[in-house]
């Protein structure tokens, strides 16, 4: 196990290094240079510009610049933004990261869950009306023009029906009095999500590894998870943070719903196909032959095995939603990493653009890694080395 994890980490580090190099040189090739953006005033003499260039290390050959970039990268220094001079890139990215994380993890988890559930149902009832309907609706959303869809949803739910806030990620009139900056609350939320998911996972793992999960055990697991959740809420409430968390959640609804609508079909159709394959497997037939109830056969046999290839799609959809993140963030005034990337690319702020791309890359690499681990955890056939036991 440890060897497997180490191997994956090693691979990730190499991939990351190549990725950084690619990003760096790609952005180096961008037209225009810093002195143009940084010194917009015509009255600055040429000499002063040259000196500035020197200060920023822009007079060095690219390879030297790259090496110093890499050196700085591993010491946690991503350079200084040009468009927000002299703010460190790292600082800007850290400011955006929690928001992006909360939004996209929630959206991806939800769309995965919805896709998984629907895919399971429609595969099981292949050819039924629900199958056709879900497929057509799924494809329609999947191919919908995203900006337009989000505008329509905003218009419908926020503007016309007034059910949800119009835009932004927090309500300013509430937060004026907040004792914390929003990032603190976001940070707690990320932490909370992490703790709860780890807790749930650990509980389910320790209770049910390899054994039949009885109703009592599942109930216990649920109760424990609910306990952890309630404890979290309690801590937040006692700190007076609950009201602010709720405000964030309220603002998250619309973007999350939009992202889910756009993305769920991918998982759903994949799950459907995957499950149509597992349904044909002998062990599903065997499960029926064993006289197990339909729901058990569906969930524990067909769906459980069909889940495996779908996990991989979770990662891909994460990358895709980071890509579409720009659209979401723009449409819902949710300033996250996507926006930083877009704006910095337009403004030729390449330390920031490089930083944002690298950050996104790291984020996705970690997601790859988590998916790998998840896959390994879900599929006992993934052996972490060692040969199958010989026949006795």
């Amino acid at each position: 196990m440890r060897r497997y994890v180490l191997g994956r980490v090693g691979q990730l580090v190499i991939t990351l290094f190549i990725y950084i190099a690619l990003v760096y040189f790609l952005l180096q090739a961008m037209p225009g240079d810093i002195s143009m953006i940084y010194l917009q005033n015509p009255r600055i003499p040429q000499a002063a510009r040259e000196e500035l260039k020197k200060q920023l290390g822009l007079d060095q050959p690219p390879i030297v610049q790259f090496l110093s970039y890499i050196r700085n990268f591993f010491t946690g220094n991503l350079g200084v933004s040009f468009s927000q001079y002299p703010r460190p890139v790292w600082d800007i990215l850290l400011e955006r990261l929690p928001r992006t994380l909360v939004l996209f993890i929630t959206a991806n988890a939800l769309s995965f869950y919805v896709g998984f559930m629907l895919g399971r149902v429609i595969a099981w009832r292949r050819g039924a009306t629900v199958d056709h309907a879900a497929t057509v609706v799924g494809i329609a959303f999947w191919t919908a023009f995203y900006p337009l869809l989000s505008l329509i949803l905003i218009w419908l739910f926020a503007y016309t029906l007034k059910w949800l806030p119009l835009n932004q990620f927090i309500e300013p009139s509430l937060w004026v009095y907040a004792p914390w900056p929003s990032n603190t609350v976001f940070g707690y939320m990320v932490f909370g999500i992490a703790v709860i998911s780890i807790a749930v996972f650990a509980i389910l793992w320790s209770l049910g590894r390899g054994q039949r999960k009885t109703g009592r055990k599942i109930g216990l697991a649920w109760a424990l998870s609910a306990g952890v959740f309630a404890a979290g809420l309690g801590v937040a409430a006692s700190a007076g943070m609950l009201v602010y968390m709720w405000d964030i959640v309220r603002h998250m609804v619309l973007p999350v719903v939009t992202l889910t609508l756009i993305n769920f079909a991918g998982t759903m159709l994949l799950m459907r196909d995957s499950m149509l394959e597992t349904v044909e497997e002998d062990y599903v037939m065997a499960a029926r032959a064993k006289g197990l109830p339909d729901a058990v056969v569906r969930d524990r046999y067909a769906a459980r095995n069909a889940l495996l290839p779908t996990v991989t799609s979770l990662v891909l959809s994460l990358a895709a939603s980071m890509s579409g993140g720009l659209v979401t963030e723009t449409m819902f005034s949710w300033p996250g990493l996507g926006q930083v990337l877009f704006r910095s690319a337009l403004a030729n702020d390449y330390p920031l653009a490089t930083g944002a791309l690298v950050f996104t890359g790291i984020f996705l690499l970690i997601a790859h890694f988590v998916a790998d681990m998840l896959y390994a955890a879900l599929d006992p056939r993934i052996s972490y080395g060692g040969e199958p036991v010989a026949e006795g």
Partner: protein, 624 residues
Amino acid sequence: MKVVRYSMTVLLFVAVVFCMGIIGQAAAGGVYEMAIFEDPTTVNVWAALGPDATVWNSFVGYQQSYIGLYGNAAPDYVFCPQAASGMPSRLVEEKMDNKTYYTSVVNIRKELRWSDGKPMTADDVVFSYMAPLALDPNKLGGNWPGNIDPEILAKVEKAGDYSVKFYLTELPGLAQWQYGMLQALILPKAYWDPVVSKALKAADPIKELLAHDPKGEPVAGPWMMERWEKGAFVTHTRNPYYAMTGDTNTFYKNGAFVTENKKTGFRYILGNPIGDIKLAVTEGPYANRLMFRILQNQNAAVLSLISGEVDFILNSLGLQRGFQDQLKKAASVEVVENNVNGFRYMAFNLTKYPFNIKEFRQAVSVLIDREYICERVLQGVAFPQYSVVPPGNAYWFNPNVPMWGKGFTRSQKITEAVRLLKSAGFSWEVEPQVDLAKDRVLRRGRGLIMPNGKKMPSFEFNVMTAGYDPLRYTFGLNIATWMQEVGIPVEVVPTEFNVVISKTDERDFDCFMLGWSLGLYPDHMYWFFHSSQCPAGGFNYEMYSNPDFDKMVEEFLREADMETARRMAFRLQEILADELPYIVIFDTPLIEAYRSDRLAFPYTKTLSGIQYSGGMTSTVKLKN
């Protein structure tokens, strides 16, 4: 197990209801809510005036919190004192240490206070000039060298507790003196002095200074920064010590102007204040708090405006035309239109033949049907423009520059262009023919032959891509079509904005179309057309070089008297309109909208709109 699941759901539901209750209470009065489209990048005034000089930084930053010695009183942008108690004394020659200086004394209003209650004195003013000088304004970049020009300003000295003395190395022009140095912002010495001296010891003083977080910095303007929730909002509260509250600016119909404060007894008069009063504006602020909501796109902002979440949209570009109808229809929303200070133009590379032939450019100018574009294609959302000073800048605008081909029909335009070209020695393989009576093109011109006898090769016309700006793209195509009708072999190349910019920087182009927005004082005529700006790095992209013009524009820059300067500016405009280094085409008005049920602006007609005064935060009255 289902019980647990249900109980969890119920728990969540209760929490939700509980929270909604709390949120319902959060509403505050006396808040002026504005939408902005981008996060500010800094609240450090050094950075906001320097490398981070974005319009958003100015909106949420120094425009609300700082004052200078002098300012321009909107809506007419009359040059008037702010921190100063009157006009500066005349510049006089004075010898000191074997050097000749031109000196002037400025007195400061005694009642001014910083937001921590301490008085603003000559020390603060001296610091505000001397600290940037020590740091080198050129390196600070941005607006700094414009305000504190190290070429001219030798030093500022304390001449009394409430007066300062400027030492200049040469006689400044209007741009450098009234519209430059005297409008620099005043910084609190008590706060910044330690920061600056610490920064000066650092390896990179400027970086050190710009990176400083100005927490607790006292300000002299009407608003104090309260909270900046990055990406979400910025709020300001009233400065309790703001001394100018109650200042009344009175504009008379005859052009006279009076600023007075009944409470403090301050009074400043310009011209002869008799006759009808055009407008009187009394300084507030009247609101308790400013709230800048950072919305990332126009649609969100407009929806928020209609639903009443914001009172005004603060955007230097104004609103797009499509919103107008909807906003006009909406209850309690007022839409205002204002002229802007800028223009869209096309320019040729004047180092290339035959673009350097004046008649060629005049012919092109004739061919461009500005009225058609503005009235027919844009249906009044743009107005035609001929001079490099926009009509909105009424004081400096010359209404009588040559207007090539104005009012001509299509065929008349072609005839006139052909005449101009012929007069310069151009000829055609196939000459264009028109039917003047029926206003029809009978034959398109082909094979334009240049005065040197060679056939004119086709050249590139760089216009914005349709994605960047469909309007300008469409115009580009229109203009090219008109040029092609008389046989000018132009080829439209849609080009990314960045690429056009780098092409112009490198002087590597045939012909392009771009736009400018300008300052109040028309010194841009120097920057755009003086031959010293021709080399790379300068702003004379088209490489216009005219020694007579150079001389005149230099004099114009040096001229300190407003009236003389105005006459000179008129003459310069005429030359430029005749020589046409820029073919000025049009500009669009600025459209703004606000909640009329919430806001009462003292006036809404002003050059570049309400946004130019930063949303008029200190004079607007809140209605509920």
